[in-house]
Amino acid sequence: MEPDIKWLDDPETFRVGMLPAHSDHRFYRSPDEIRNDDSSFVQSLNGQWQFAFAKDPMHRIQHFYDADFDASSFDEIKVPEHIEFAGYDKFHYINTMYPWEGKIYRRPAYALDQNDKGEGMFSEAPDNPVGQYIKKFELNPAFKDKKVRVCFDGVEKAMYVWLNGHFLGYAEDSFTPSEFDLTPYLQEGENTLAVEVFKLSTAAFLEDQDMFRFFGIFRDVSLIAQPEAHIEDLSIKPTLSDDLKDGTLNVETKMTVNKSGAVAKVTVSDADGNQLYNDTQPVTDSITVKDAPFKGVHLYSNHDPYLYQLTIEIDDKDGNVLEIVPYKFGFRKIEINQDKVLTYNGKRLVINGVNRHEWDCDSGRVVSVDDMEADIRTFKANNINAVRTCHYPDHKLWYHLCDINGIYVMAENNLESHGTWQKLGAVEPSYNVPGSVPQWKAAVVDRARNNYEMLKNHASIIFWSLGNESYAGDDIQAMQEFYKRVDPTRLVHYEGVVQNRKYEDVISDFESRMYASPDEIKDYLDNHPKKPFILCEYMHDMGNSLGGMKSYIDLIDKYPMYSGGFIWDFIDQAIRVNDEVTGQKVLRYGGDFDDRMSDYEFSGDGLMFADRTEKPAMQEVKYYYGQHK
């Protein structure tokens, strides 16, 4: 297979040569490795990489991925890091409009004209910078003779990958992992991984989130060795009896097995380590737990995030451990009841939520473990019980932290195409994508699948969200159909339901709105409401704001069908730089980098300042979110 730069222009090409999306379970060789969360099957490729920047595709170095390419003229860059933070490309903040606004005329391929393929729109674009990365590595000796893949946890926005001069594949969806099998091309001694990253592709139409527009390898890169018998995908389905007293557990796996006679030991323990389930089975196509009963289960909730421990150990026929997969899961039930009230474990659920962009003022969307742990502590300290991952899947660890801390998650897809349908404040979807344009459907359904497959086992996730502000059409309907097919245990959310009522019944289980006034909410709920009401964004906390929250909180007692909402948003997006005049560290926002067009300070809507200190409004959130916790 040969790479083709025209894929950048083609909405129908978004994954080439990639391994299928799968659950985010980790696997280890020993209990010690589990305890230290240090899998010997993983070799990190984070660190210094060789790097060349080109201002557009026409100026990029050809054949930099060849095995014999001389990269001595390359610079160095850190991985993970946004290319803008490394100083090669300009910071640019813009909200709903596309970053090429006022500079390049673009309409999405096929949107206005089924014959318009958009050829050259990105592949020959003067505003499409390119990052060329080279990483030389020697394989961990323990990986020898094993299948080995490379996993990119996040790369914006389109990338081509080669190993030792052999093309491996192409990926778009920036915020979910992209994996490629390296096995056929690995060699003794030094190996050369080459990655070519483009800032723009058709994915740029789908990733028009209100944020600084970055590109590059911004999350971890790992080599992952595969045991001879390996759980490729794990699906844990805990369900509850109608009276919520007893649980039933079903587990299925997808396997890759290169060794006969392997045996799986499946155990389930409670949080105190008492073993409740124990089974040994030969490893075949799937390791399964079928309808295993759990009497008198301890329910999982925000206040009591009680998790059970599933452990699957795979041994070879001589009893040597091949891999151990641990995963924590919870028993809980999310429903809309016969009164159209959102319930959790049989009781009305009130969402005291926030929207959270990933942000660190010193590194952008490259967030640290400390950042994530600090955010969870802030949630817990201020009665925030839910998060919407706006508007893309987050770092994997975030969901794990939400699991163990009982933070309810609205897991949102990487999708926002605001600029294609709202112009100067008016709804004007003449060239909306994905819309009902057939050529854009597979890409967005793939995004839904990536999100689902990675995250499906998390106890914390209670809603799937199809994306943000992308209008509504057949393609978004297809995303909902995907979720409804694979996951009857969670609800589907999408706010675009209010923008195009034609799709009202097929894209969201909620009446979801953003920034509706308390009176508008009353108006909906007083007039034969069809669905429970949720605010996916409210209390726009820009600057000195968050006044009048009482009027929203008062709705909770009055309207059982009001489900609460997610404050916009958690943390200001600003970048810390040295002031050119005083030399002091200061926070800068849109327009401060000669970036135009911009939406300037509109990125500063957080309950936290960009340096992760609390805004004064937080005490108000703590108070009101404490009223119905």
Partner: protein, 310 residues
């Protein structure tokens, strides 16, 4: 009492005040030998535009109050001695006084006509008690032809940066529509922090305050070498008041697009507020602050507080 040509001096044990006749207010407030005023207190009509104010066009609608705040000046001064209005003691009428004039109660009233179209009237009166306490009374006469007010109160600009302040009120920064989470108590704030909003804007308001004590340890007096802290106290007079204590005026905050553009902090600006507009929060691109948290211009505003040696 010192009936001077340019102003009225009022002194007693450990205090001496001078009310200027042409500069719209009390010019000097010396307590225990320390000067507390940099410039005369003036009425507050403006707050630095918040992001929500900008989004809903409030600053455009209420822009008259910006000029009214920036350039306020009194056009008339009245003096009452022991509750009796006296003929204004301008020269040569004041030749009849001596260096031995005494009173139990002195009230100086400054009358402002707002620089708005139409105008309305504001009075700030200072009543000095024998112990040096000053009861300040402020009155705004409503005029429903004017736009909503961004804020209303009195601004004291002190000569040097305060070391900090202490208040009996609510925790944190609070506004009328964002004060439910404020916990009542006594709070000590070190320095004069400006809330780190990306774009500097109105900030630091504390609602429902019973008292505020400002502590300084420097003066502008070149002969004063002491760094011993000294204090002044603002105490509620009937109703609790709102205040902010910052190193900047609202106009200084208004002009900066980033925190680092604010001037070097060098003074203390105490705003004692009788009316505060809410901050709003439904959205930042059009929705107004909820009606009950506006300051309608048509309604009188009347409030008072006392300044006392701490």
């Amino acid at each position: 009492m010192i009936y001077s040509d340019g102003g009225l001096g009022v002194g007693g044990d450990n205090f001496h005040y001078i009310f200027n006749y042409t500069r719209s207010g009390i010019e000097s407030m010396v307590i225990n030998g320390k000067e507390w005023l940099y410039r005369e207190p003036k009425p507050i009509f403006w707050r630095a535009t918040t992001d929500n104010d900008r989004g809903n066009g409030f600053s455009q609608k209420s822009v008259q109050w910006y000029g009214a705040d920036m350039f306020a000046s009194a056009d008339k001064v009245d003096i009452k001695i022991n509750d009796q209005l006296i003929e204004f003691p301008s020269a040569p009428l004041n030749n009849k006084y001596s260096n031995h004039e005494y009173a139990d109660k002195v009230e100086v009233i400054y009358h402002f006509t707002t620089l708005t179209t139409p105008t309305t009237d504001v009075e700030i009166s200072y009543t000095v008690m024998p112990d040096g306490d000053i009861a300040v009374h402020v009155h705004y006469t409503g005029n429903d032809q004017l736009p909503d007010l961004p804020a209303f109160g009195v601004r004291f600009v002190m000569p040097t940066l305060a070391a900090g302040f202490q208040y009996d009120g609510l925790s944190g920064e609070t506004y009328p529509d964002r004060m439910a989470g404020g916990i009542p108590g006594e709070y000590q704030v070190d320095g004069l922090p400006v809330t780190n909003y990306m774009v500097p804007q109105d900030c630091g308001v504390h609602m429902a305050t019973k008292s505020l004590t400002v502590t300084r340890n420097t003066t502008k007096d070149n002969s004063d070498k002491s760094s011993t802290p000294f204090k002044i106290k603002f105490v509620n007079d009937g109703q609790p008041f709102a205040f902010s204590c910052l190193p900047y005026t609202s106009e200084e905050l208004e002009n900066a697009t980033h925190q680092e553009e604010l001037p070097l902090p060098r003074r203390t600006v105490v705003s004692i507020l009788g009316a505060v507009r809410g901050v709003g929060g439904i959205d930042s691109w059009g929705r107004d602050v909820e009606e009950q948290y506006h300051i309608p211009a048509g309604k009188d505003i009347d409030f008072g507080f006392r300044i006392t040696k701490s």
